[in-house]
Symmetry: C2
Subunit: 246 residues, 2 copies
Amino acid sequence: MDADEGLRRLRALGFADLDAQELWVHFDAAERRGKQGHGHARIPWLEELEGYDPSAEPSLLEEEAGFQRWHGGGAIGYLVLGRVVRAQLDSPPSQARLVVCERTFPTGMLGHHVRRLADGGLVAVLTATSPRRLGHPDGGPKLAGTNPLAIGIPSGGSDPIVADVSMGAITWGDVVAGLASADELVPFGAEQAHKAFALALGLQLIVDSLVRDDGHGAVLLVARPEADPVPALRELAGGVRLPGDG
Amino acid sequence: MDADEGLRRLRALGFADLDAQELWVHFDAAERRGKQGHGHARIPWLEELEGYDPSAEPSLLEEEAGFQRWHGGGAIGYLVLGRVVRAQLDSPPSQARLVVCERTFPTGMLGHHVRRLADGGLVAVLTATSPRRLGHPDGGPKLAGTNPLAIGIPSGGSDPIVADVSMGAITWGDVVAGLASADELVPFGAEQAHKAFALALGLQLIVDSLVRDDGHGAVLLVARPEADPVPALRELAGGVRLPGDG
């Protein structure tokens, strides 16, 4: 799919020009990073998805030093996080800020959002919940979403480091894109899958504990860096590929 | 080792009575949870460890709404986090607070600290760095500590959920306790070990970006919960053992 087709189809869903552009940039970035499950395949998926309002505007419900609470208000999660990221860049915290995003789903490739924050000079940590698709490795009901943890680290001297790790052995996006079957969606880690399960459940409960309006959401931490450890790390790493490198 | 012997040996290292007590409670809790690497074996280890001052007092360097910066000041990391945890419980944040703990090492079983916070009604997320012992799964130099991520979720109606996941396939504590060899200390996840490596490196860089005084440290997030998702989760889980359950 090229940009013309992608933008045309997104606008046909009712998204305003700038929002269609923002969605396309996200899907195309995922596609280029080899994360097809978060890529162009999400456009036909959005064409079938119900329950979002392409013209809804997220709102900032609550703000105090070091804290913001947003509500998606029916907007699609990608665009809620887009607004939230822009708000952090426009008005960075004095030191750190926790941002609770209620009713924020789906949010896509979380690395995309923290990369924007890191490009703007902020340390960023982001998680988001999704339908329960991971069970305990020993069996039982599905208890947690794949709930990725994304970490963006800015660097004055080089590209940011962007870790973006889903707790599933595959992503739901892979299932959406027809690249894997839903049965393969288990916590990653093989014999140590209990670790990824514990992380998925812990991240789920952070979000579920902090929202007032029950439902999928996201929790973002942004902070001003005091140091730039990335250049020395890159030097130590030599030729080793670091998370988020293209 | 029993409490009498443990306390006697800790006091012999120069720790004041209350601090010896706090250390013993930590080591004994780890032992009882089957985490021997963080348990009684740490007492002979402390007897050999250099570079800490048993009578040093951590200090709160900086405070504003939503943020605190502490410095270990030569105290051992366990006790720095002990003071930091107590400070959060004594004066919880209005909504959320990021706490950067510089020169805070070693910190032990991170689940112990977040459990205390969750028992006190706070959502808590904690990571801490340690010597670089994890390399990229494809090879190369050691780039990240085992850098656990611990998450504590309070619940009015039941025990807290406590996820405490080291990014190593084994812990350095296992090596200290003679339960494993240093060669086995690789990122967990087998074929997907790149995920645990990315998390370890991301957590490392959060700490390294936020401290002013370069060295091992810890970063803690505490927040007031708005909801109690744990009872419904326990009901959904049925008999499945959840993270942190005894």
